[in-house]
Amino acid sequence: MTPLLITNARILDPASGLDAVGSLLVEDGRIASLTGAPSEGAETLDAGGAVLCPGLVDLRATVGEPGAEHRETIASAAEAAASGGITTLCTLPDTEPALDDPALVEFVIRRGEATGSLTILPWGAATKSCAGKELSEFGLLREAGAVGFTDGSRAIGPARTMRLALSYARAFGAMVVQHPEEPSLAGTGAATEGELATRLGLPGIPAAAEAIQVARDIALAQLTGGHVHFAHVSTGAALDLIREAKAEGLRVTCDTAPPYFDLNETAIGGFRTYAKLSPPLRREEDRLAVVAALKDGTVDAIASDHTPRDADDKRLPFAQAAPGGAGLATLLGVTLARVHAGDLALPEAIALLTSRPAALLGIEAGRIAPGAPADLCLFHPTRAWQVRDGKLPGKAQNSPFDGRALEGCVIGTWKRGRRVFG
């Protein structure tokens, strides 16, 4: 591969604190140097002052493969990911069949490798078939490459099962990721309980369903010494509990997703099913609490929570429509909206998308340093674009941000030194 010299870039590496205009040399798929020394025969790219950061590490996404290829294949997810600057993607195990067998974990990893643009790190199923009953083979799944364990979009309901999972996972140094929603309280709800759900006549999910699950699982983390990670946290009450648990030194971490700091429940007005998510969009106070938790560091990562749905899943009466939103292509742009709004500094925002999730997983990705893999994202921080249904890269078009104007646009993505987008 010809060496590549990217010049005149604002190089941003949150892990080392680097934030300076300079050049970066890529050789043999790795970052060779940051000194700007010209290399013999290197191809040169003038970045024109755009921001060069590590390729994004997305902690949480659903792909349709295996089992729902009509919604999204790994190849189509990779196309969307590359357009969003994502080079490492952790996929959920509640596929069909569920990733509860080492061979399936290996299969998904290989399918990721085959795209050439994306490293897929699957979460293993915490319980067999993600049914919430018997633990799956954590040891064998971990050996096969599972980064940790979760039942994906389903909460691990019974306290005993969660206790065993947190306890057993310690033997393999893995975390257990929880969908924080108390199942019996959430029931068949379709929207956050409150005035809007009442007006629309939709069955509600009380916001407290999240805090209740989080409180229980913090207690179980304390009991077992295990590491619990709460995914897509969306309420102030749950974030308060997590903040407190962290202050006590418990092994508790969390992520959130762009809809929860960019949208509130009013997005479902007029029965707009693209804005039907799980957990449901919350009221404005909760959105503001999520923003505050991004600022103060309580949130460890921003994940896309990408959930592909097709027209048949969404063109239904609201309560029957499937929850979830496409999120790969918009992950960076919606996060940058918090930077433009003055809530986050650019390096902080990029850390939430790169070095911090990488540190959580204990992986090599998510940093710019000599010797590190040349997984890179080059973006123009203020160039505007509009999210439009039908125009998004990849198969899934069900963006809750449909119509939203975003400021901040990926112009190039590299995977191990090879350009995969732009």
Binding site: A197, L200, L202, L316, Q320
Partner: protein, 317 residues
């Protein structure tokens, strides 16, 4: 009946009361009132909807609402087709849009829809050329019921503004309650809802109502007592422990009604569960109960709605 100087239903559909302005509501009630008079005299314009096709598309069982729309359409001369789609075969909703495509191909003018899911008529309205009338969707709205209730009240009381109206029972699952709350509060009535906390929707007070869990307190000095049907399956859902307990505390009987104004009227959207939410002695008391008149006004209101919507059909027959 001559034209109006402003569009009464500006969207071309009647999907909800929420969003309608008081002048729209008054105009619809005025028109319905004149249809009520004509109906009593046996004189109606039998050719107003001549050549128009009205389809009653019912995904939930209903006898009275469907019959009421059918009669309203017939009195105005429309061609009417009743389609009852059994709920067992249509739970996926895909069929909902398939059905919409079929009806569209048949050049339907007016589509009356009842569906078990909130928002289903709104979804249909996006996909068909016909004017869509919501005849009840899930726990969202039942706009023609609220209009007929308002017309009944207005005829009995001469006004809507400043009246105290107590809506009692299973408000949580009631589309009738929601439409009535929106309509009557828009028209200046003072709304109360009365029921056990498990049957009152979350943050109901933010809809502009006063919430009571003690029925006597909720009925004290009220002008209108509007009872709601308690769905029997709610009891199996554990929201109410038993029908006898429900009737004891939230059923309307003469003793509880005694605290209302002496001329208070009693309403029920039907069908009634006698002995559960309402005592027969009250339901059948001609001095208090206006339940029969509600049914009569139902036809008049639906004629008015069909009339208004047919004036602005996107596709001219």
């Amino acid at each position: 009946m001559s034209g109006f100087s402003f569009p009464i239903l500006p969207t071309g559909h009647l999907l909800a009361i929420e969003g309608l302005e008081p002048p729209h509501i008054s105009a619809l009630l005025d028109l319905a009132e004149s249809y009520a008079l004509l109906n009593r005299q046996g004189k109606t314009q039998r050719d107003l909807l001549k050549g128009r096709t009205l389809i009653n598309l019912f995904f939930e069982d209903s006898t009275r609402t469907r019959t009421s729309f059918e009669l309203a359409g017939k009195r105005l001369g429309a061609d009417i087709v009743n389609m009852s789609v059994s709920t067992s075969s249509v739970n996926k909703g895909e069929t909902l849009l398939d059905t919409a495509a079929t009806l569209n191909a048949m050049n339907t003018d007016l589509l009356v829809v009842r569906h078990g899911q909130s928002g289903a008529p709104a979804l249909l309205a996006q996909k068909v050329d016909a004017a869509v009338i919501n005849a009840g969707d899930g726990t969202h709205e039942h706009p023609t019921q609220a209009l007929l209730d308002a017309l009944t009240i207005r005829r009995r009381k001469g006004r809507l503004e400043e009246l105290v109206v107590s809506i009692c029972g299973d408000v949580l699952h009631s589309r009738v309650a929601r439409s009535n709350i929106h309509l009557l509060s828009a028209m200046g009535a003072r709304l109360r809802v009365v029921g056990p906390p498990t049957l009152i929707p979350s943050e109901c007070a933010r809809l502009g109502v006063e919430v009571f869990h003690d029925m006597r307190a909720g009925l004290e000095g009220t002008d209108v007592v509007m009872m709601l049907r308690l769905q029997k399956e709610r009891m199996t859902g554990g929201l109410v422990p038993s029908s006898r307990e429900y009737f004891r505390f939230f059923g309307l009987d003469a003793a509880k009604l005694a605290v209302a104004k002496p001329d208070a009227i009693v309403m029920h959207p039907g069908p009634m569960n006698r002995g559960i939410e309402i005592d027969s002695a009250v339901a059948d008391d001609p001095a208090r109960s206006v339940i029969g008149e509600q049914v009569e006004m139902g036809v008049a209101v639906r004629m008015a709605v069909l009339d208004v919507l047919s004036r602005r059909l996107r596709r001219n027959a």
